[in-house]
Amino acid sequence: MMATLLVGLLLLVALYFALRHVVRNLREGKEDCCGGCPGCHGGCNSCHPHA
């Protein structure tokens, strides 16, 4: 019972932070994989082809 509570609590905390991150991204229009731009040197600097 104790172990279930502990693991459940840990999961809830992790889920809270994961969802907070997702909601913040949605609100700010951000995307984690924006860094995946071969034309730019890292990050979401998509407006210029080469920095």
């Binding site: 924006c34 034309g39 080469h50």
Partner: protein, 631 residues
């Protein structure tokens, strides 16, 4: 002692980022400039007991505040208390680079002029007399060759000295500034003033060049000789395809896949085994063991397994970018793009789409014509972004183990071909205005700096790790709940909410050969984020009933996934599923970006529906023609 604030500015492709990386190493923070999606890089270092912060400003050709980058550079330089502004100049292209230098001097900004790429300049017969250069501008000058420790020390020595205080603009520069002020006050139209300003600037640049720079005639440069084969003529396109094919072999056969296989064993067998045993022995309730093992580890693990492939692919692309070859692709593709009514310039944002559709869609802002911009936005999601890569890698490894790299390569080519066909169609029907002209500077070929390549690879790839720990984690929990419950409570997986939704969806794919509810559920979940397709497959096909046969299930999770998938798909229907996944509706974030960039929900609806329809038709053709051919 206070921190020394230094800003690096300069044209694009001057080696500014390499100098920034050399100065600050891994001590960097990357964020966005307020209100725009332009990268803000700040790094830190210590030298001679001084703490130094370095800001890497976006590369710009001028500071007319016409683009977001130009506005950022001007605002930052004028509104921040900086100890030093370093103007990084490509010595091999000095005349053009001086345009920005002159504009910065007009603003009264004291500069340390870094004549970078001295080695390239010397090879091209360009000799710069630094003493004369200092005299003619009245600003200190440092010579560097980008990634040498000696160059970095030379810069740091100037940063920590009081040398800047000894300099003031030369009489020539002061006279130019007076001339500029007079032009700005002459009351003529903005266009006329800009023309006069440009003339005045080039007049000053000519004087500087005459006085301090000697350009010898050494014939075509090394880059021009290489470009004779790589960027021009009949060989350019085959060489490009060959290079791309090599990248896929490295990623999916030689380096990436072995690492992915190792990780698959480590996560989906060893770690799953350990966690199942540990949680069961600790007395955790069966449903929670199942949530952790069948849901989270199976879902997140299925995605994490493919992250090495993403890193290897990004490493290869960053390496190619570092050599200067990526910029040539725009030229190579220009004739093909032109036939579709676009220009080679449009290939630059499209190439970003191989990483992620979101920056690629935003990158379309850089295109001048409305037609190019809209077409680019609408065709970008056809390309294979990093998030689709796990889907391709999973199915290719499972159904075509001997030809995995070729199959994934074919999917990438399919994405490009579909983008080109659709661009042609959109150009002929919905967007008929003329495209823009195409001008792009080709940087010289260089041996990439490995430190910069590795940092860039990390910058690009880490987002996928963050996604695995956030949206994929949350999606895995949701998918587990949806696959274990219905509105009456706990149930068998076949009666779950996910099975019901997947079943509705699967009815659309009877003619494509993948009409199982699991495939339908995976397709539906992929609209949330493309990696979720793999997470769903991992959850639905990957795990058994851990609560009753805990250890057995954990031991055989990977094998069980293979067996279940082999039952659900044939090689042909798996290929049709890959084709559909490659082309169908973009993820939610990409749709949100389309709304922002294209300006309205109608484009979101259009993009979602027309891509789904095209994916449906193409996968149908693939499956039915494949059957006719006896596959």
């Amino acid at each position: 002692m206070s921190t020394l604030a230094v800003a690096l500015t300069g044209n694009p492709n001057t080696g500014k980022s390499t100098i920034f990386n050399e100065l600050t190493g891994a001590r960097q923070k990357i964020g966005n400039w307020p209100g725009v999606t332009v990268d803000k890089k700040v790094g830190y270092t210590r030298y001679k007991d001084r703490a130094i912060s370095v800001v890497d400003l976006p590369g710009t050709y001028s500071v007319n505040a016409r683009s977001p980058e130009e506005k950022i550079v001007m605002d930052f330089l004028l509104n921040n208390k900086l100890d030093l502004v370093v103007d990084v100049v490509d010595s091999s292209n000095i005349e053009r680079n001086l345009f920005l230098t002159v504009q910065l001097l007009e603003q009264g900004i004291p500069l340390l002029i870094d004549l970078n790429m001295q080695d390239d300049a010397k090879r091209r017969g360009i000799r710069i007399d630094t003493k004369k250069f200092e005299q003619v501008l009245g600003m200190p000058v440092v010579e560097t060759v980008g990634r040498s420790k000696k160059s970095t020390r030379r810069l740091l020595d100037v940063f920590t000295s009081t040398v800047m205080a000894q300099y003031e603009p030369s009489n020539l520069v002061k006279e130019h500034i007076r001339k500029v002020e007079a032009i700005r006050a002459n009351g003529r139209s903005e266009a006329e003033q800009q023309e006069e300003l440009a003339e005045a600037r080039y007049a000053l640049i000519d004087k500087v060049m005459d006085y301090a720079v000697d350009i010898g005639n050494v014939g075509p440069s090394r880059s021009e000789k290489i470009d004779h084969y790589l960027a021009n003529g009949a060989l350019a396109l085959p060489i490009f395809l060959l290079i791309l094919y090599g990248v896929f072999q490295i990623t999916f056969t030689w380096i990436g896949q072995p690492i992915a296989d190792f990780l698959d064993d480590a996560i989906n067998t060893d770690f799953l085994d350990f966690m199942t045993g540990f949680l069961t022995e600790a007395g955790v309730a069966d449903w929670l063991v199942s949530l952790v093992c069948d849901g989270i580890i199976a879902g997140v693990g299925a995605v994490l397994t493919f992250v090495p492939l993403i890193f290897v692919l990004f490493f290869c692309l960053s390496f190619l970018d570092g050599t200067g070859y990526m910029a040539r692709i725009a030229f190579i593709m220009d004739p093909i793009m032109r036939r579709c009514g676009l220009t080679g310039k449009g290939i630059m944002p499209l190439m970003m789409g191989f990483g992620c559709g979101v920056p690629a869609i935003m990158g379309a802002r850089a295109l001048d014509s409305e037609k190019d911009r809209m077409v680019s936005i609408l065709i970008t999601p056809f390309l294979t972004c990093g998030a689709k890569l796990p889907i391709m890698a999973l199915f290719a490894a499972m159904f075509f183990p001997d030809n995995a790299a070729n199959i994934v390569f074919a999917m990438y080519i399919l994405g490009v071909v579909m983008a080109i066909i659709v661009a042609k169609g959109l150009g002929a029907t919905m967007f008929k205005d003329k495209g823009s002209t195409f001008l792009l500077e080709l940087p010289p070929y260089r041996m990439p700096d490995m430190k910069s390549v590795l940092l860039e690879t990390w910058d690009k790839g880490k987002g996928y790790l963050v996604k695995a720990g956030t949206i994929i984690f949350a999606a895995s929990v949701l998918l587990w709940v949806m696959s274990n419950y219905n509105f009456s409570g706990p149930c068998e997986i076949e009666d779950s909410i996910l099975a019901t939704l997947g079943d509705w969806m699967s009815k659309l794919f009877t003619l494509q050969g993948f009409d199982t509810w699991e495939a339908g559920a995976a397709i539906l979940s992929g609209i949330m984020a493309k990696e979720t397709v793999v997470a769903t497959i991992g959850i639905l096909y990957g795990a058994g009933d851990v609560s009753t046969e805990a250890e057995d299930a954990a031991d055989t999770a990977s094998t069980m996934m293979q067996t279940s998938m082999a039952t659900a798909f044939t090689s042909l229907s798996a290929f049709a599923f890959m084709v559909f996944s490659q082309l169908y509706t973009p993820c939610v974030t990409a749709l949100g970006t389309i709304k922002k960039e294209a300006g309205g929900w109608k484009w979101v609806g259009f993009s979602a529906v027309y891509q789904f329809a095209i994916a449906w038709v193409v996968s149908l053709l693939v499956y039915q023609v494949g059957r006719l051919l006896g596959f």
